[in-house]
Amino acid sequence: MINKKVANAAEAIQDIADESVLLLGGFGLCGIPEAAIQALLERNPKGLTCISNNAGVDDFGVGLLLKKRMVKKLIASYVGENEEFEKQYKAGELELELIPQGTLAERIRAGGAGIPAFFTPAGIGSQLAEGKEIREFDGRLYLLERWIKADFALIKAWKGDTAGNLIYRGTARNFNPLMAAAGKITIAEVEELVPAGELDPNQVHTPGIYVQRIFQGDHYEKRIEKTTISPE
């Protein structure tokens, strides 16, 4: 097996440069690449294009990159939880491309799967259809959407092995597997890194072929965005 292990987040992201296009896994603050984001803040590349379902919050996740003015353009489906984003966007300092969540997921999946374009019904009749090709199939209208790929994908899994195989946990899976396949260089961080051969091949969610670098993160905060509990 091919060994993808690197020492730490800093080593993993050392060649992310100004103007890089990044995919960042996670939904809200769930399943985000905490350690890679932290290392990226230290490295401080500018003019990044970040593709992520959300923009994080002001002091966690992608929001940290926004706050440090490292992001030129954001491609996302929902950015409602981030005031810093709103400020920069209103000031014209940040580009935004909003994509329906399912279309975003499918465009990234297409990028990884070598499908340059596909048709989807989502967005027909809406502002987001403007300028896009519309075609009818079996009496229904669909939009043509293109694949999304990136220079780097930063993803987070629960367990991983040195061959790059990944297993996610709960709803922290979300965009991570699709992004793994759509990054030219995919950097996976895991809570537990084991030698190749210790994960059951039948339970692997992301095959190692999609992962170029893997490291075990030190400490995961896993911040909860909205605490909701049932009475005891």
Binding site: A76, T103, G123, F175, N176
Partner: protein, 221 residues
């Protein structure tokens, strides 16, 4: 006039045995609390879960388990987890039977607006456009009017449209409405204590009231 909880209670009566359901953020999320326990239904969360359970006990709270509103949740027995592409493949592919969403506005031909972007308000689109474009039966839960008193049931949507001719049934604080094939909001039921004139007055689009309109009853206190 119904409370948010009562709107949710009323929608829950539409749920049928064996359905897969996606609940949007806001009033739709409350519907889960009122689904009769004898019904076998499954709630989907578009961030990657089939089988949403109740909010967890404090001790069971898990940051790796949230719903589409980013709230901590639990899973029922028989759940399954998957990625976002699969979650929307389910939606787009017509596997979800019912989607319950909020809305900013509706038009009398069944168009829906449930997101907007402007210099003064940026939130995003989330999964709403995928849901309204799916083959799911679309139920809308919302207040009948905006805060300024203007009607959300319009001739045409003023806000950007999210989906065309896709709404099946509308549940507001004033009543339940269906969309007529030729266009128009057909009043199906009215909320307790609401008179028809109020509904007429607060509905901007074409309103159709035919025959005796039953009044909703039986809300849990």
């Amino acid at each position: 006039m119904l409370t948010k909880e009562q709107i949710a209670q009323r929608i829950a009566r539409e749920i049928k045995d064996g359905q897969y359901i996606n609940l949007g953020i806001g009033i739709p999320t409350l519907v889960a609390n009122y689904i009769p326990s004898h019904l076998q239904v499954v709630l989907q969360s578009e961030n990657g879960l089939l089988g949403i359970g109740p909010y967890p006990k404090q001790a069971d709270m898990d940051p790796d388990l949230v719903n589409a509103g980013k709230e901590t949740i639990s899973m029922v027995r028989g759940s399954s987890l998957f990625d976002s592409a699969e979650a929307f493949a389910m939606i787009r592919g017509g596997h979800i039977d019912v989607a319950i969403l909020g809305a900013l506005e509706l038009s009398e031909n069944g168009d829906i607006s449930n997101w907007k972007i402007s210099s003064s308000l940026i939130k995003g689109v989330g999964g709403a456009l995928d849901l309204v474009a799916s083959n799911a039966k679309l139920f809308v839960a919302m207040r009948h009017c905006h805060k300024d008193g203007s009607s959300k049931l319009k001739k045409q949507c003023k806000f950007p449209v999210t989906g065309l001719r896709c709404v099946h049934k509308i549940f507001t604080d004033l009543g339940v409405f269906s969309i007529l094939p030729e266009g128009g909001f057909k009043l199906v039921e009215k909320a307790p204590g609401v008179d028809l004139d109020e509904i007429r007055q607060k509905t901007e689009g074409r309103l159709v009231i035919k025959g005796e309109i039953p009044e909703m009853t039986g809300f849990a206190k």
